[in-house]
């Protein structure tokens, strides 16, 4: 698995900048970005892919279901 593959993919057009994902992330690897989407919101972004534990909490909590979460396979195999 390549180092770059993101564990958390956020659909920026769906995001409404509610920050619920940011608040819920147990390892604090999400934040609101400085980008702006077509509705005028600053979408959330993952800033530390490494630390993300792929717990899925952010996705479950996101009211917009703007987040997809992936887990590296057989990483420790």
């Amino acid at each position: 698995m390549s180092e770059q593959a993101l564990k958390v993919v956020i659909d920026e057009e769906l995001c409404k900048q509610c920050e619920l994902c940011v608040a819920i992330c147990p390892v604090h690897v999400l934040r609101i970005s400085s980008k702006i989407n077509s509705k005028g919101f600053h979408p959330a972004e993952l800033f530390d892919n490494e630390k993300c534990i792929s717990c899925g909490f952010c996705a479950m909590t996101c009211p917009e279901r703007a987040i997809a979460v992936y887990k590296p396979e057989v990483e420790k195999a």
Binding site: E13, L14, C18, A23, R65, V69, K71
Partner: protein, 250 residues
């Protein structure tokens, strides 16, 4: 990469009209996830309320009808009896289900109609701009309880899950929430269980979901979720209030 979470298929990929951070979106997604998992999208009819969720029909890829304010369970009853094999659920606000529609909702339970009702309890009338709901907490200020809800003047919060649980036609009644992953998981389990009971013809299934309304509570979404977790649940204790098949399936 293994998929941990992807947007459910039945959740249409459109930007919804809910305010940022509103829990309505989470509840929509959970229903969509269960419909996906149970492969029921092709035999489901949803009944949208009058309330913030009035346009829920735009967000879940199933057949829908938009009911008059409060009459969702009556509409659902008509649909269910027309097509007994179809999964029918109503998606309602607290005002819709517990104020103007109180009789219809309770009669779902009294009659034991095989439909599932979701009642999104945000302690407010969201759609119309923040008036008092039957579920507004004591002391809460709203546009129609501007001095704070005082039981002598504005009465008491209504406890739907408990009242529904008391009726003999109820197969399942629970109150859950969406303020953290654990509550969300619990809610999803309830949904699945309720849908299963419905498909087995066990009777009326009811899930009161404690949600938020950041906009009319005057809070940020994060504050609102905290408020739901810390304050709402004091008046609205979470848990299963009745489950006819509790021992078997859980």
């Amino acid at each position: 990469m293994k998929i941990v979470y992807e947007r459910p298929k039945t959740l249409e990929k459109v930007v919804n009209h809910y305010c940022p951070g509103c829990h309505h979106g989470i509840l929509h997604a959970l229903i969509a996830e269960v419909l996906d998992e149970m492969k029921l999208a092709d035999k489901t009819v949803g009944v949208a309320p009058v309330g913030c969720a009035v346009m829920a029909y735009n967000y879940l890829d199933i057949d829908w009808i938009e009911a008059p304010h409060g009459r969702a369970v009556a509409i659902a009853t008509g649909i269910k009896l027309a097509h007994p094999d179809v999964l029918v659920f109503t998606y309602q606000g607290d005002g819709d289900a517990a104020s103007i529609g109180l009789a219809e909702t309770l009669y779902g339970a009294i009659r034991g109609v095989n439909v599932t009702t979701f009642m999104y309890n945000n302690a407010i009338y969201g759609m119309t701009g923040g008036q008092m709901a039957p579920t507004t907490l004591l002391g809460m200020k709203t546009t129609t309880s501007p001095y704070g809800r005082d039981p002598k003047r504005e009465g008491y919060p209504v406890k739907m899950a408990e009242t529904i649980a008391l009726q003999d036609g109820t197969a399942f009644a629970a109150r859950s929430a969406l303020f953290n992953p654990r509550a969300i998981t619990e809610t999803k389990n309830h949904i699945k269980h309720a849908f299963e009971l419905q498909m087995k013809g066990e009777g009326f299934t009811f899930i009161e979901v404690v949600g938020t309304c950041p906009t009319n509570w005057g809070m940020t979404p994060v504050e609102a979720s905290e408020f739901a977790k810390n304050e709402m649940v004091k008046t609205y204790p979470l848990g299963i209030k009745k489950d006819v098949k509790g021992s078997e399936t859980r």
